[in-house]
Each structure stands twice: as C-alpha cells, then as structure tokens.
Symmetry: C2
Subunit: 323 residues, 2 copies
C-alpha cells in the first residue's frame, strides 16, 4: 500500500531525485519506513539510485511479465484464450497437464517467471532462472497419436519464426526440435500427452527460451552448447514483445497444422540444419553414425548409416559432426 | 461373524439339509437370526435351498474372484507382480492410470467385479455388469510412442490365446483389436497412456471380456453384434481359470513384444479376420470403403479403396461387409 504509493511517486518523477523527506511527507509515513519500502522495492528488482542530500530516483523497473501487456489486442483465435501467469511454478508443463485433465479450454497458456523443477526431454532438468520465457500450451487436436510429433514441430516452427522476427537473428532447427541461434541452443520443447490408442485427449506443448539470463547461471557443460537471445542479439530482449509474437505465430502454425499438416513439415524442413550433415544419434540404446537424409511424414529422422543402410529414428539426441 | 459360521456349517454339510434349529444351536444364535443371515447370504449370491421340516442346504456359491485363487502359483515374470481386486470401481483403467502416475510397479493388475463407468474406445461406455472380467494392466515399456499400438495388439493376441485354450472355441481379431467368437465381439481393449514426444511414461492396457453376463443386460443394438463366452461355449465359464490363463498369456506376449515386436505382429496377422475382406471404415470423419490389405509395422490398417488408392488407417471402426 505505502510501497505502491512510493513507487507511484518515483515513477512520476524519473528525471530527478526525490528526497526521503518529501517521499515521507507525501505518503504520510516516517523517513525510516520510506527507507524500508525502498529496500523492499530493490528486492523486487527495481533499480533505485540513492544519492546523499539529493534522495532517490527510479533508474529501471524489473523486467516482469504482466498479463494485460501480454494479452491486450493479440487478435489470436485458439492459443491464449486463457492466459495464466505465475511468479514461480515447479513446472509449467506439470501445471498445464493437471489443468488439462480437469478440462481446461484448448489454447490455455501457462506462463511462469521461473521454474523450480523445470523439465527437459527424456527425464532431464531444464534450468529455469528468472529472465527467460517458460510457457506451456494446452491443445486438444482431433488427431491420431502418431501425428503428435507434428505438434512439437509446429511449436518449433513458431518459436523460430518469432525469434527471427523479434530479434532479427538467423534461426535453425536441429532434429528433433532444438532451436539454434549462432549454432547454439536457445530453446527446448517438451511435449506431454494423455492419449488412448485411437485419439489424443490432451497434449501440452512446453516451451523454454533462454532470453536474458546471465550466462553463468548455467553449468559449464551446458553453457558450452547453448546461448541466450540477448547474447546473440547483443542487447536485452523485450520478453513481452517476444512472447506476444510467439503466441501469434503458434496460433498460426497450430491452425495450419490442423488444416494441412504437410505445410508444417515443409516449413520445418526449410528451417532445419540437420539434413545432409554427418551426425551421431545417441540415447536410443546404441550410438549410430551416418548422414541425415530427411524426415518422414510423421517427423522421424531418416539416417543413412555408413554401411548404406537407411534407419528411421523416432527418438534420440543428434550431434552434428564438424565438416 | 455369525454369518461366516453359518456359511461354514452349510459348506461342511452339502450332501443334506441342516435344520434351522441345529444351525441356531451350533452358532449360538436364535432361529430368527439364522433366517436373517441366510437371507443376507442369498443377497450375496449364494444359492441356499430351504425345505420345510428339513432345513437349509448350500446348493451353489456365488462366482466371486478371490485374490489367492487368481495369484497362487501363477509363475509369471512381469504381469501380476501386484494384483489388486475390487468389488466395484468406476473404471479399472481410470484407477490404474491414477496408480501409475503415483509410481505403481510395472505389471500391476487392477481387477473389478463390475464397473459403474466402464470406458470403451473413442469416448464410448463399456457396459460392465457382474459376471464378466474387467482388468487393467500397468506397463512401462521403454519404447517410442508410435510403437504403442503394438501393446494393444499384444493384449489382443493374449486374450485370443487365453479364450481359445480355456473355452475351446475359435477366436478371431477384427482390426483394430476387437476379439470375435462366432463372428461376434466378446472383448474390447482400451489402451491409455501418459507420454512425452520421445518416450512413454506409462501405459494402461484395459481388457473387458463378456464371460457369463445375461445377454439381456446389454441394449438390443449392442446385443446384435456381441456374444458372451458362456453363450458361445454353451456353459458357464470359470472366470478364475480364464483370468489366470490371460495373465500368463499376457506375460508371455508382452515380454515377446519387448524382445521382438515383429513376433506379435505375425501372431496378430494369423488371428486376424479382416484381411482380404471388403470393409467400411467409419469414425475418421469420412466413410471409407475398400479391401483390407494388411497392416504396416506400426499396426495401421492398409485399405485399398475402390479407386485403387491405398490408404493407411490409424484409428476407426471397421465393419466387415457380407461376401
């Protein structure tokens, strides 16, 4: 309450300094209480300069997502019908799967500023400090289960498109769905689903994009293979703008998938950086080496092994070997 | 307590009648209470004859499944590691999916004497009165999601094998996985799974077999297309014996699937009654007619349409047209 009043005063007078005395008088509290609220605001991420004998000045606001900023005037049809924003969650995917099983509407988007137990593919962790984007989208497509990989591919195409248009950097997709900028990973996708043999009940598309985090927030082994959008662009990226563009592009590509899934495959192929390259595939129980030839209509990678045998790969990790 | 004592007396003297007076004396209760417990036992399905001036005689016990009868000496490796038996459940599949998400061991089997909300394929109901078999098996195979249909096919092969060996009747499989006896359906399978794009977390194989139910317990439209095992065999089928054989066969075919899934496909093909027949496929948004040619390696039905075009069908209902 008093903190909001102090913030309001600081926001209305950004060009100069407001003395502690004046802030105390205008809000009706003691100078000691003003100082306490200033400390609290700093703890929330506000940068507040303090100069003796001059007072306080709001230098920068924390980069926080706000629902109204994300949702206003989006003009989308399916994705974002319901947007739920959290400061922290264990995992946006876990939260979304629970909401989906309780009947949440298709297009519900769960966003969190950070995750304490973010999930990656194949049971791995996804390190999720503040400053990035973590979101999960609930979908209910009337498709057979073997078409599910194309949902993840729609997500990859949408992320690549949004990053390219907002950050102006070149983007590639490495099979299965890693998003690469400058040859390094900036985004991972984790799709989870509840299904019967004949139909998908619901599917959750989880997206984690490394945007503005400090590079040293990742362990060195992961750091070597990844980058952030701000590092690639050379400046801080506005997460709200990126998120809005992503929701728009996802809305477009998801609806395109429902109408004509071959269009998603075609766009994915244009963006891919795997075809024609010598690769290894691990995580399938064997280490396989060969040339990536393409993907089949269900998104499986076609690899020509050194002995000439063609293999269809449904799951695994690809490493692109140096030329 | 007293009811158990009366049951014990009746069981020990099946060849003749026990008077109400003698039952009252031996259990230490009044003749009126004896009569009340006899009524209660009849309500539980015991057939107890009563002849004036002679007394009571236990003519038949209810056909109830008992855990020790099912489990003792089964000699199976995976299926049935944990057997949970219920008198009534909403749905064995729903119960199994919940247990699986809480970490239940692979091979856990959930059995219920009846279901109040039994589920069929594609969101349909599975009418589940007493007298039949309803069970769900929790599996955790390390396979990609597109191989999931082969789990259902393993189940179909196991059910067909168990029915054939216990009931001595000819059994066929109609794509996708209806079990037919005398050309009519006696069993349905419903597979549900929780999965990521790269891996299955858990899969629940639900099996409902119409064994001894009265035919009039089904509505006429379903009745026309279905039969029960007792109807086909001409006598009551021992459900415990059938269930034990099914668990054994499922254990065999599931482990065979993990080692060499082509063996499951080969056995399924031998049992199928769809290939070479003129069929219609519905439930896919269009009504498709043609000749069933076979299945591909992922279990999809190959149909040659009248115009010569081959179609791959992943989901739907097949009707075999008369020759």
């Amino acid at each position: 309450m008093y903190k909001d009043k102090i913030l309001y005063r600081l926001r209305s007078f950004r060009k100069g300094f407001l003395s502690g005395e004046e802030l105390a008088r205008r809000t009706g509290i003691s100078r000691t209480m003003v100082w306490k609220h200033i400390s609290s605001l700093r703890g929330q991420g506000f940068t507040i300069e303090a100069v003796p004998s001059q007072g306080y000045r709001l230098a920068a606001e924390p980069d926080l997502l706000r629902k109204q900023d994300i949702a206003s005037g989006l003009k989308i049809k399916v994705i974002g019908r319901d947007i739920q924003l959290f400061t922290t969650l264990v995992s946006t995917n876990t939260a979304a799967m629970e909401l989906a099983s309780k009947g949440a509407v298709e297009g519900t988007v769960i966003i969190s500023e950070m995750q304490t137990g973010g999930k990656g593919r194949l049971g791995r962790k996804w390190i999720s400090p503040k400053g990035n984007l973590y979101l999960s989208i609930i979908l209910r497509p009337a498709i057979p289960t073997h078409k599910a990989p194309l949902i993840t591919m729609s997500g990859a195409v949408a992320v690549a498109s949004a990053i390219r248009s907002v950050c102006g950097v070149a983007v590639g997709i490495k099979w299965p769905n890693d998003i690469l900028v400058s040859g390094k990973k900036v985004c991972g996708l984790l799709t989870e689903m509840s299904a019967e043999q004949d139909r998908i009940r619901h599917i959750v598309l989880g997206i984690g994009i490394d945007v503005n985090m400090r590079p040293d927030e990742l362990p060195p082994d992961i750091r070597a293979l990844t980058t952030t959008l701000s590092e690639a662009k050379g400046s801080t990226v506005n997460r709200t703008v990126l998120l809005r563009q992503l929701l728009r592009d996802m809305d477009h590509w998801y609806r395109q998938f429902l109408v004509q899934d071959a269009d998603v495959l075609a766009e994915w192929k244009k963006l891919n950086v795997t075809f024609g390259r010598r690769i290894t595939v691990s995580g399938t129980g064997e280490l396989l080496e060969g040339i990536a030839q393409g993907i089949d209509e269900d998104g499986r990678l076609i690899v020509k092994q050194n002995n000439g045998v063609l293999r269809l790969i449904a799951a695994g990790d690809v490493t692109i070997l140096k030329r």
